[in-house]
């Protein structure tokens, strides 16, 4: 194995090994567990940085492990993989910190943090997967490792949500398995990063390839929560806040969307997919999800549920951007992968803080809450304004590129969808902000007895402030050389050619 390959394996091991050790530690040993968790996260971040520096220097990391002829596990560091793995790793570090604070008193932490670590290993595995089989392997493992987290509370609702989650994701996984096997029969093993892959397959398979495309979208769409496959996501809200953050920003939905990007960019190739007229149905599906998700969010009074529906809508932006088939729109979609993650995780951290500190779960209870928890609500407001698309925040950049891309591709209706969606975003997020900042408190909060010098425990407060800062930073510094936008432009430049 070469050194570069070793680096990729180390990136996976840096969270797998702590996870396994945590399982072996007794429940009471909190300090070693926290040390392992944070140590693993920091180490992973450093390794990822090393990888990115390597990529900037024009190096290519790869490692392969042959199971059988035709079945090969491969890890690969193309720029898209680097984008997703960096996002996951950064957010994981913050989420771990948050989870340590959040679960300070609760039982069964050993299991929680064990699975938590393994879950991130698997997510980064998805990011780094170098071919379709490796992707499938990690994609299926992600289902398994997130399930114990979803049912962590062990209540009836949690178990029911876990069941729904499994039904959706397992069925999606089965469809995906068939699709991958079928494609392999038609075209041999599918490697990522060597697009356009399918152009080499003879034209006589076109019919099958069209069917396959929709099977892939169905398989990935479950995790990506595309309407009508989104049913599990709002229900999974019973899980603890760090898990919601994980589901919505770091791992699960991102894995689904990332898969769709891989299918469109690396397996079919934009030109080829557009040639088969596959992208229009995909963008219609995405548009439906955008509008429907927002409409559902409007109806919800439960804060976390509203945010969950908002995820359904926001994720579809990414799919929309990829499916509009123009470089500008693709930039908008891909960069939203990062921006949505930052904004959504901020919102969920804040929602968790409100629930953990004040016992507030409903939007109708949030009037005047900003006076009690100004820092939390400031972070929340930044996240929410970003979602709506106020300049100069992250969401604005995404929407700007999406809109420009749609115009460039001559698709006015996409611009209309974006406008409607922005209005809807404002309609379900602004009232929360107005209530929190400007209305007087009109009900008593069942304080949860958190004693801290600040408005809540520092471990709960730091992560949302950092992510809120990042939301502003990636917007303001979008043109800097190290911003996600610059990185995404590099990726799209490779896909669409110079």
């Amino acid at each position: 194995m070469n050194w570069g390959g070793l680096l990729l394996v180390m990136i996976l091991l840096s969270s797998l090994v702590p996870g396994l050790i945590i399982f072996a530690l007794p429940e009471r040993s909190n300090r070693p567990r926290t040390f392992l968790n944070l140590g693993g996260a920091v180490l992973k971040l450093l390794l990822i940085l090393l990888m990115i520096i390597g990529i900037y220097q024009g190096r290519h990391f790869e490692v392969r492990w042959q199971l059988l002829p035709g079945i090969e596990l491969a890890l690969n560091s193309d720029p898209l993989a680097a984008l997703f793995s960096t996002l996951s790793t950064v957010l994981w570090l913050l989420t771990t910190l948050y989870a340590v604070g959040y679960l300070e008193q609760s039982p069964n932490r050993r299991q929680f943090f064990g699975y938590f670590s393994i879950c991130v290993t698997v997510t980064v595995g998805i990011a780094l997967a170098g071919n379709l089989i490796t992707f499938l392997l990690f994609y299926e493992l992600l289902t398994l490792t997130t399930y114990p987290l979803v049912i962590h509370r062990g209540t009836k609702e949690a178990l029911a949500a876990g069941r729904v989650y499994l039904v959706y994701t397992m069925s999606g996984g089965a469809v995906l398995l068939v699709a991958v096997a079928w494609l392999q029969v038609l075209a041999g093993p599918v490697e990522f990063g060597r697009a356009p892959f399918l152009a080499s397959v003879a034209a006589e398979h076109e019919g099958q390839l069209i069917v396959l495309f929709f099977m892939f979208i169905a398989g990935m769409g479950v995790k990506a929560a595309l309407v009508p496959l989104h049913g599990w996501l709002p229900r999974a809200m019973v899980a603890p806040a760090p898990v919601s953050a994980l589901l919505h920003a770091v791992a699960v939905v991102k894995a689904g969307v990332f898969g769709i990007i891989r299918i469109v960019h690396d397996v079919y190739g934009i030109q080829y997919a557009a040639g088969l007229n596959l992208l229009l149905p995909l963008s219609i599906l995405a548009s439906l999800s955008i509008v429907y998700g927002s409409l559902c969010a409007l109806r919800e009074d439960d804060l976390k549920k509203r945010l969950a529906y908002s995820t359904v809508s926001q994720l579809a932006y990414i799919v929309l951007g990829v499916s509009v088939a123009g470089p500008m729109a693709a930039i908008g979609g891909l960069v939203h992968l990062v921006h949505q993650g930052l904004m959504k995780i901020t919102l969920f951290f804040c929602a968790g803080n409100l629930a953990e500190t004040l016992g507030v779960h409903r939007i109708s209870e949030m009037n005047g809450i900003a006076r009690r928890m100004p820092l939390t609500m400031a972070a929340f407001s930044i996240g929410a304004l970003g979602m709506i698309g106020f300049p100069p925040m992250a969401g604005f950049i995404s929407k700007w590129y999406l809109g420009m891309g749609a115009l460039a591709a001559g698709k006015m209706w996409v611009v209309a969808i974006l406008a409607v969606s922005t209005l809807l975003n404002a309609a379900y997020l602004l009232p929360i902000l107005i209530g929190a900042w400007f209305k007087p408190q009109d009900c008593t909060w069942p304080e949860q007895g958190v004693t801290a010098r600040l408005e809540t425990r520092w471990m709960l407060l730091v992560p949302p402030l950092v992510t809120a800062f990042l939301v502003v930073a990636v917007g303001l510094l979008a043109n800097a050389q190290i911003s996600p936008l610059a990185w995404v432009k590099l990726i799209v430049g490779m896909e669409y050619g110079p």
């Binding site: 199971l67 035709g70 299991q111 299926e140 493992l141 114990p148 876990g162 089965a174 398995l177 029969v185």
Partner: protein, 501 residues
């Protein structure tokens, strides 16, 4: 250095010898039994290495040739199954040490445990010797003898628990097993009458479509299907496997059914393959589909853990029969490889599951699935082992089951008969459903869990986990066993080449 033949003879003689000693000197079983298990595993290891070194052989014991003597034919398939038996058998043996050393309940119960141990070891070693002999034998009559010994010792092992339900199940098992053996023996006699030989390699060259051949094939197949418990002949299996003692259940489900299955594969995949039309393979395939659906459906309805695991065996056996038509269709050897992966991975996973279920039963005092919430607080390793084993039964990557499913799916899609592949996927979704039924109780946190005070020895927990993890990561190391299969050369690859028109 001893050669393959030496190790092969050891693999039969050593367990047989120890079985006899254990039987006459029952005071020594606690020492001799485990010792024999280790020796067996060592011999299997020795044979594997020597096989890798020198390739497949045929060996006539004592130099006596076919009609009188006993011939061994050792190829990749034999070696893999011997190795599988050794690994699973060793883990079960370790588990059994812990299991029979438990001191539970009244003085009477303890003395019953002693009694059970005194019979378990000789019978299990006898069974092991017979299994090894079966996988090594070259001709169908020797196989009959080993099959019969396997069946009889399995029946007695089933009855060992002494409960009324177990005795009834064992009785039924005995009748089925005898019926199956009879049918098989008639088939063998007819073959001998027609071709004058029972050596499988020779037979596969001589075989020609003739009325007597068809009758004999029907008899052989019926006998083997009865013993393998393929749907709808599975009725005896769930009660027998569920009511036996935990280590016995693990042996029965993990290994014993594989003996007749192996023979079925040899006959349908190799010996009779040149004359059988493709349409003939639809029958086992269709029955396999039935088994997958029925077994999984029944598993979903069970209230008791061990019954659920037993029905899961019915379903999983169906999988391996779905592979039969695909073996016939496949131009290469990937369907063969797939079915071998399914067998090996099922042996590990299912034994682990029964071992875990046994520990859970002992600790909780019952095995009602719905009342197991929180058991992971008292048996964390065991609960985890059960879930991991379940995941590998579902065919999740990177388990051996996944490799098997993947290869079969590929064959079925490329050969145009995609429905077999779809059936496999449906089967694994159903497996996911019944595993989930248990897993959601095993994973959930609930304190405090009421349990008996008995201490489950760590060896019982860890042997189950080890097997489960082995089943789970088998896929990552798929290259090695398949290398063995190909190094063995003649068997699958060439047989399939002959089959091809």
């Amino acid at each position: 250095m001893p050669d393959t033949a030496f190790w092969a003879v050891c693999l039969v003689v050593v367990p047989l010898f120890f079985a006899i000693i254990c039987f006459v000197r029952s005071s020594l079983v606690a020492v001799l039994g485990p010792m024999a298990a280790w020796l067996n595993a060592f011999a299997a290891l020795g044979m594997t290495f020597s096989f890798v070194h020198s390739g497949p052989i045929r060996y006539a014991i004592g130099g006596w040739q076919a009609p009188l003597g006993i011939n061994f034919s050792i190829d990749g398939l034999s070696v893999l199954l011997i190795a599988m038996t050794a690994v699973t058998g060793l883990a079960v043996s370790m588990y059994a040490i812990g299991y029979f050393s438990l001191r539970i309940g009244s003085a009477r119960e303890i003395s019953r445990h002693e009694h059970q141990r005194a019979y378990f070891w000789p019978l299990w070693l006898l069974l092991w010797a017979a299994l090894n002999g079966l996988f090594l034998s070259a001709d169908l009559f020797n196989i009959y003898v080993t099959l019969e010994i396997t069946g009889l010792s399995a029946v007695v092992l089933t009855a060992l628990s002494g409960k009324a339900a177990a005795r009834l199940a064992a009785m039924r098992y005995l009748l089925v097993s005898l019926l199956g053996s009879c049918s098989y023996l008639f088939g063998v006699a007819l073959l001998y009458r027609t071709y004058g030989t029972l050596d499988m390699t020779v037979l596969s060259r001589l075989i020609s479509p003739a009325p007597l051949m068809w009758v004999s094939l029907a008899l052989l197949t019926t006998g083997l299907l009865l013993k393998t418990a393929l749907f709808p002949l599975h009725f005896w299996l769930p009660p027998a496997h569920a009511n036996a003692l935990a280590p016995v259940s693990a042996i029965l489900s993990g290994l014993v059914v594989k003996a007749s299955l192996y023979l079925m594969l040899r006959l349908w995949g190799d010996v009779f393959a040149p004359v059988l039309p493709l349409s003939a393979y639809v029958l086992p395939g269709a029955l396999g589909c039935g088994a997958v659906l029925w077994g999984a459906g029944q598993a979903l309805l069970q209230k008791r853990l061990k019954m659920l695991v037993a029905y899961s065996t019915v379903a999983q056996l169906g999988y391996m029969f779905i592979a039969l038509p695909l073996i016939r269709l496949d131009a290469g050897s990937s369907a063969w490889e797939a079915v071998i992966f399914l067998i090996m991975s099922h042996a590990c996973a299912k034994s682990a599951m029964f071992m875990a279920a046994g520990s859970i039963f002992l600790k909780a005092g019952h095995d009602r699935i719905d009342d197991l919430d929180g058991i992971k607080e008292v048996l964390p390793v065991t609960s985890f082992a059960f879930v991991v084993a379940g995941v590998s039964l579902m065919g999740f990557p990177p388990s051996g089951g996944f490799i098997g499913k993947w290869l079969l799916l590929g064959v079925s899609l490329s050969s145009g008969q995609w429905w077999w592949g779809i059936m496999l996927v449906i089967g694994s979704l159903l497996a996911a459903c019944y595993v989930y039924r248990v897993a959601c109780h095993l994973l959930v946190f609930k304190a405090p869990f009421y349990s008996r005070r008995e201490f489950i020895p760590p060896v019982m927990e860890w042997s189950a986990l080890l097997l489960a993890v082995l089943a789970m990561i088998l896929g990552l190391f798929a290259g090695y066993p398949l290398g063995l299969l190909e190094a063995g050369g003649p068997f699958p690859a060439q047989a399939c080449l002959e089959v091809m028109p």
